[in-house]
Structure formats: C-alpha cells, structure tokens
C-alpha cells in the first residue's frame, strides 16, 4: 500500500504535464499507466500546435465543434508553450513554423474570412492571402487553392519528445511513475481514493483521470457514467526529403494537416479514423482513410505525389460526442478530476496549469466552467457517428 497526495491515471501528454506542474509545487504524485507512456493519442498525434481557429469537422464527425469557444484557450496555450520549451531541459523540437489554412471553394473562403474575424477579437495574429499571395508564400500549393490564411503562431512539437521530457522532469522532481500497471478498481473510503491495480494498491486524496480513450471505463469504476466517443485516428509519414515545406498546411473544411518535421519527413494526418478501435491493441490502418487523406495531400501539395509513404500508424484518443474538450472536477465527487477530449495536445500546458489550480483550490486563470464533464453525464446513449 502506497500513499501520495495525487494519483494520475494515464501517462499521456496531459498526465506528464500535470505531473510536472504538481511536483514543481512539491505535491506527492504517482502516475499509473496500463502500458508505456505516450502510447495512444499522445504518441500517435501529429503534434501540431493549432493556434488559429480550427476547422470544425474531423472526417466522420457528426457534430461540428464550436471553434470560436476554443480561441481564448488556444491563445492562452500558445503563450504557455513558449514557457514549456524554456522550462524543460530537453529539446522538444518546438517549431513555430506558422500555419496556412487553405480553402478550395467560395464557401470555404467565406468560412476562413468569418473565422479570421473571430481571431481578431481573440487577439490571434493572422493574415488573409488571396490565391496569388498564398502561392508567393508557398509556390508548391496546388491549383485548387483559392484563399488561405496564415497564422505565425501555428507550429508543432515533437510528440515523441515532449511527453517523455515532461515525465523525466517530473521524475526528477519526485514523481513516482508506474507503467505497465493497469487500474482494476477504484473505491472511496472517507476522503481517500483507493486505487487497486495489477501490481498493488495506492491511496490518495486527489485522483486525476487523464486516460484518453479509457476515461469512461475508469469513471465507471467509480459509478460515474459518461458518454465518450473514443476513436482511433491514423497518421502517415513519408521518407526524408530535402527541406521543401516550411509551414504547417491545413484545410478549412476537411481534416488535413501536412508538415515537414525537422527530421525531413513529411507528416500527413488530419484526424482520419482508423479501420477500427482496438483499445489496448493495435487498431488497423484504414485504406479508405489512407487514400482519402493522401488524395487531399497531393491536391493541395502536388509535389508529394512522388514522395514515398514510409509508415502509417494509429492511436486511440478520448473524443467526446460534442467534440469539445473536457476538464474539471467531477460533479458530486470531491477530489476527482478529469481532462481530455478535443485538441488535448495543443491544450496540454493549459490543462496542466488549470488542473493544478483546481486541485490546489485556486481560481484558474482561464474560465473552463462550461467544459466540465457534467454535460456528458447521464445522457442517453446516442448513436455513434463512426463505423
């Protein structure tokens, strides 16, 4: 039996970032993961920092997300990422390349103009580019691009580096990391949470669930029933090529993100679903997502046609039915916190600081009261959108 102030369930980017913040404040923390750290969504993600307003529908997504609500969160997260880079001793390959969001039709162009207006209100820098201007900026753009927006704050972080770096820094500050230790049951005795795992039993006063696609399963151990839409997404990476693509390129109406990383490879993603969701196993590659995603890529950046696709991979993440983030204390369960959902990678430093404030009973710097899981509790199981 082992005690600590806080137990974090989930060794992805949110768990690592929070463990770092908590141990910095000398809070005793143990982190449990069912396998290795950064295994599912946090390792599979493209690692983009989305600061300009995002497109609202991932492939297969039924309900459009509220991209205007996210804007104040995005600019706050953007500022925090600069601190992360300064604070961590390891290189996390943070690159502010700037991001280009493209439109191929008139209505898509209007969508960009509309979101630009909201970004100005939120204080996010950006520039609208006509097709000629866009091509001057990036001559490789395909003929179909009619309008684009450039935001200098967009960029990426190497997902393979940042979670381990945060985790190692937290371990130096006293974190006890227990990987390959699956949580079997959770109970509450007086004001203590008792977490039974494959290898032991742990007690804490504060329990944080940042378990991505397993959030609903773990909450159900406590008798909390929420409706999540966990999904496995798919990513593609090419062979290394000479530097050619200086920006993150995205699409306003379709899930698509393309960038060349510092290793020279081009990563192509956009939240396209894998063939299935195999929690705890390897979800299969979907050929339909692969051809769909890569056709976008060659349409927007035709030079990619002759570049070889080297690998594809899948990873599960904890999406919600309304495609919005979740963060906060679980209503009716004192000392139980949850975070996850949409764009958790971009929001990681913000969610870590916010959870820290909530755990230490301080007022968070940014209001997240509308993003609690209360909205997902006791909802009738609606039909899932993906298959």
């Amino acid at each position: 039996m082992s005690n600590s102030d806080v137990i974090i369930i989930g060794g992805g980017i949110l768990g690592a970032a929070l463990a770092f913040e908590l141990t910095k404040e000398s809070v005793g923390v143990q982190l449990l993961d069912r396998s290795s750290i950064s295994r599912e969504g946090s390792g599979a993600t493209a690692g983009n920092l989305h600061i300009q307003a995002v497109h609202t529908r991932r492939p297969g997504q039924v309900i459009a997300l509220d991209n205007v609500r996210l804007l104040p969160l995005q600019i706050a997260a953007s500022r925090l990422w600069d601190d992360v880079e300064d604070e961590l001793p390891e290189d996390i390959e943070l690159r502010r390349t700037g991001g280009l969001t493209v439109a191929e039709s008139e209505s898509q162009g209007e969508e960009i103009l509309l979101k630009r207006g909201h970004e100005i209100d939120a204080g996010i820098p950006g520039e609208i580019l006509g097709s000629d201007e866009a091509r001057r900026l990036l001559p490789d753009l395909g003929d179909s691009v009619r309008l684009a927006e450039f935001c200098p704050l967009d960029g990426y972080v190497n997902p393979l580096k940042v979670t381990p770096a945060w985790m190692r820094a937290a371990i130096r500050q006293g974190l006890i990391l227990r990987t390959h230790d699956e949580v079997l049951s959770i109970s509450k005795v007086e004001s203590s949470w008792i977490v039974k795992t494959k290898n032991g039993q742990f007690t804490c006063s504060t329990l944080v669930i940042v378990a991505g696609p397993w959030i609903d399963q773990i909450l159900s151990m406590i008798g909390v029933s929420i409706h999540m839409n966990p999904v496995a997404i798919q990513m593609h990476v090419t062979e290394r090529i000479a530097p050619r693509l200086p920006f993150l390129v995205q699409h306003i109406a379709e899930g698509m993100s393309i960038k060349q990383v510092s290793a020279g490879q081009v990563m192509i993603g956009g939240g396209w679903p894998a063939q299935n969701l195999a929690l705890g196993k390897t979800s299969d590659i979907s050929l339909e997502s692969m051809t769909g995603n890569l056709s976008q890529a060659v349409r927007i950046l035709p030079f990619l046609k002759n570049v070889r696709l080297l690998r594809s991979w899948t990873g599960a993440l904890g999406a919600t039915a309304d495609e919005m983030p979740i963060i906060g204390e679980v209503p009716g369960h004192e000392g139980l916190f949850v975070a996850g959902g949409t764009y958790a990678f971009t929001f990681a430093p913000l969610w870590a600081k916010t959870l820290l404030d909530l755990i230490l009973k301080r007022a968070p710097k940014i209001d997240v009261s509308d993003l609690g899981i209360g909205r997902l509790m006791n909802v009738n199981k609606s039909k899932t959108a993906r298959g």
Binding site: S36, G43, L287, L294, A297, N306
Partner: protein, 480 residues
C-alpha cells in the same frame, strides 16, 4: 468454400470464376502456379524482381548468361511452363497492403510507379525470406554483405569480387552452399565461422543417417571445403570488423574459453539464416505457430500450407521450412488443395500424387527440424553490442542510445522505437528489428516480444500511387 465448390462441380465457368493470386515467383510460387494453371485455373503471380525465379531460380542477366550459360535449368523449364500456361505474371511489382475487405492486394509496379488492386479468391503467400543480420562494430562497411548477396554476385551477376577472397560468418547450412558457389567461381574462401557447433558427432547428430541423401550432400560440401583448404570453425562469434584499406580484419571470440581469433580477408559474408517475409500474414492476423528469438513468427499451417484463414496458404520460407525442395512440395500441395476445393478433383491419380508429396513433405519437415536442432542458437550466443555499434542504419542510431531506455521498456519494442527512432527508417525495421528483438529479450528473458508491429504500407510506396487508388475505388462504387 469447399462445400460450395463441390456442389458446383467441374464446370469451366467455375474454373474461370475462382482466381488464385500467388505472391512470390520462386520455386514454391512457380510450382503452385503450374499445378493450378495446368487444370485451367486462373492464376496471377506477383514478384518484385524483373523476372520470375525468386532467390533460388533467379535469372542471370543477359551478359552473364552469355558468359556462364543458363543457371539452374530446371528453373528455366518451370518458369517457361508457367508462362506458357497463361498465368498472369506481374513482375517488378510488390505488395504493400491489403484492402479492408481482405480480398484484394494493393500492389505497386515499381517500374511505372503505379499502384493497383488485385483481387483473389485464394491467396498463396510464397514470399520467401530475407537473411538475418546481427550488428557488430563496422557492419556498415561496404566489404560486409550477406552470404546470399555474395553468392548472387558470383553466380548471377558474374561479378568477380575484388581480391577474390572472402570469409563466411553466421549460422546454418546455407553458408556451406555459398562457400561452394564461391569456390566454383574461383573465389578463395578464407574460412567459415559457424556460431553453433553442428559439425560434431553427438547422440543427436548421429540421427543424420536417417537422411542419407542429405548426408551425401553434406559430405560433398565437406570434401570440397577440405580439398580447397577452407577451414571450418564452430562455436565462434563475430565481434568486430576493421577496414584495413586492402581488405578487412575480422575479430572473433570462441564461445567456450573466450579465445580471440583474428582473420584477414577481402570480403565478409555474414548471415544467421532467414527470416520470413511475413508482413502480410501479420496484417491478415492468421493464427500463429512457432515464434523465434528474432521477433518473427511462422503461421500455423496444415500439410497443404493452409493457414487459419481457409482461402490463404503460406508455403516455403514463410511457412518456416527452408529449402527449395520444401517450397516446391508446398507449392504442389497447396495447388492440389485449391484444385480439390474449386474443381472437386478426385480420383486415384490425383490422390496418389498428393500422397507422394505428403510423404516427401513429412520427410523434408523432419529434416528441417533436425537441422534446427543441430544449428540451434540461443540469446546468449549473440554478444552484447559495443556502444559504438550502429544499430539502426537508416536513422543512424548507435547501441549506446539504448542506455536508460531498455530499463524502462518492459520488452516493449514500440517504446524503444519512439524513444530512439530505431526502426523508423526506410527499411521499416527489417534490418534492426531482428537485433532489437534479441536485445530486448536479453534484457528481459521472460518477455514475449514479437518484433515491431506491422502496418500498411509494409513497403514504401509513392503517395501519388496511393492517392490514385481512391479514384479507382470511386469508379468501383459507380460500377456497383
């Protein structure tokens, strides 16, 4: 499947309606193609090389044929026969994936840079294997290659190796065959260095008398080595190679006693047998049989080569039994099985052929098991890597970079991969995966590590080719 075809009987329509795709144009694939095509079954045979033949029946280049004559004439007959029987032959084509319905392969023609779908009712996977390597200091030297490559240089390409001297290192009977090829081509073999100790008389090795033909083959090789002054060392492992400018200096140590041995030569061929090209079997998720310390597994197959998926067969190297004879037997048996399925072929003649091949198959399998026992190596036979050894050649990762990662990996290859980039390069982990599997297992002997997880594309493919598949798909939808 079987019942349905029996009901339909032996009409030519049925023959035409069932399509068999064979991956690999080596002895096994060719034998299967011939067996099927002779009965009028529609067959497509896919091979990544410019011509059929595989490793064993590889065709000589035009220049080399003029110089040295035809190579392995039985192969020439078999290839001609398959072509004459009207099989569709897709050469310069490799399989990189499979469609979601698991009924059509995705293949890239590397000459034109275009991908297409090839649908099958039955699939025979005869994709062979590739030579296993284990890293050592300076293994990236241009004077180091696999035994198969050395053999190919002299027998197929008719290239005279610089210096005409070589040593062979690793494990398995293949080293003896390669030594023989080298000697025939006028290359002096400075020595064979066998990791295990198969060439000694033990209570077990005496069982070789049950395989007289194989013994004769071995004696033929042994005498040839003796006549040519080739020293055969066993129980010895390679530590490092140095490029001396003129050639190479290879340092070994004896497994028992640790005595150092240093040998000079011009070229070094090193390989520890073959690992199956089994990516497709992994993606298809067929039931697994035996797995090896190199992190790969063999599918569970019956005598006909049938896997747990009724319409998918695995024969030859991918099924775990080495040698061209086994591959041919596997080809005939899988072909006959499919014929029985779709044509309901019965009768004395067909049954007796099958029976003869069953007996031969059992014999070859027993011999393969015997070989596996006498050439048996374990984890301890492979030395720990010196820190400066280049473990992953594609991504430039050295063995020293595993420090601190192994202690946390819990036999999790994916974790080591994401922390170090080992296996993320162009070879997709084929070269380093075997070594990493051994390292991870040595680190945690209880582990059941199964190598890197395999996903599409399991061979690199042009993005334009994949994107173009989408329009083909849309067209299919319209047709339906």
């Amino acid at each position: 499947m079987a019942d349905e075809s029996r009901l339909r009987g032996r009409s030519s329509n049925v023959k035409a309606s069932k399509h068999v795709v064979i991956i690999g144009g080596g002895p096994g694939g060719l034998a299967a193609a011939e067996t099927l095509a002779r009965k009028g079954v529609s067959v497509t045979i896919i091979d990544e090389n410019p011509d059929l033949g595989g490793q064993y029946y590889r065709r000589r280049t035009k220049g080399a044929t003029e110089l040295l004559g035809d190579y392995r004439v039985d192969g020439t007959y078999l290839i001609d026969s398959v072509k004459k029987l009207g099989c569709t032959v897709l050469t310069d084509s490799y399989v990189w994936g499979i469609a979601s319905d698991k009924r059509s392969l995705l293949i890239e023609n590397s000459l034109v840079g275009k991908s297409s779908r090839v649908s099958f009712d039955y699939l025979i996977i005869a994709s062979g294997g590739h030579e296993i390597q284990y890293p050592f200091t300076n293994w990236q030297s241009t004077k180091v290659m696999t035994p198969g490559m050395l053999s190919r240089l002299v027998t197929i390409d008719a290239i005279e190796p610089i210096g005409r001297k070589a040593i062979l290192v690793g494990s398995g009977p293949f080293l003896l065959a390669v030594a023989s090829h080298l000697i025939d081509s006028g290359v002096f073999v400075d020595g064979i260095f066998e990791l295990t100790r198969p060439y000694r008389l033990t209570k077990f090795s005496i069982l070789a008398v049950f395989f007289p033909a194989k013994c004769a083959e071995f004696l033929h090789y042994r005498l040839k080595l003796l006549k040519n002054g080739v020293k055969l060392s066993q129980g010895i492992r390679l530590r490092s190679v140095q490029d001396s400018g003129q050639g190479i200096i290879a340092a070994f140590d004896k497994k028992s006693g640790g005595k150092q041995v240093v040998v000079e030569s011009q070229l070094l061929g090193v390989g520890y047998g073959f690992r199956p090209n089994s990516e497709l079997l992994e993606i298809l998720n067929v039931e697994r049989g035996e797995s090896t310390i190199f992190g790969h597994f063999y599918p569970r197959v019956n005598r006909d080569g049938r896997t747990s998926h009724q319409n998918i067969f695995a024969i030859g190297e991918v099924s775990g039994i080495e040698g061209f004879k086994s591959a041919i037997i596997g080809g005939v048996l899988s072909g006959q099985r499919i014929l029985r399925d779709i044509l309901g072929v019965k009768g004395f003649r067909s049954m007796s052929i099958t029976l003869v091949y069953y007996v031969r198959s059992v014999y070859e399998e027993m011999f393969a098991r015997f070989l596996k026992k006498i050439y048996k190596f374990d984890l301890g036979d492979f030395p720990d890597l010196d820190p400066e050894v280049l473990l992953c050649r594609c991504e430039g990762v050295h063995a020293s970079e595993l420090d601190g990662v192994l202690s946390q990996c819990e036999s999790d290859m994916a974790y080591v991969k994401s922390e170090t980039r080992i296996g993320m390069g162009l070879c997709q982990g084929r070269m380093c995966g075997t070594a990493l599997s051994i390292i991870v297992k040595k680190n945690d002997p209880k582990s059941v590590s199964s190598g890197f997880s395999i996903r599409m594309p399991f061979r690199p493919v042009a993005i334009g080719s994949v994107a173009a598949l989408e329009s083909i798909e849309n067209r299919d939808d319209v047709d339906v």
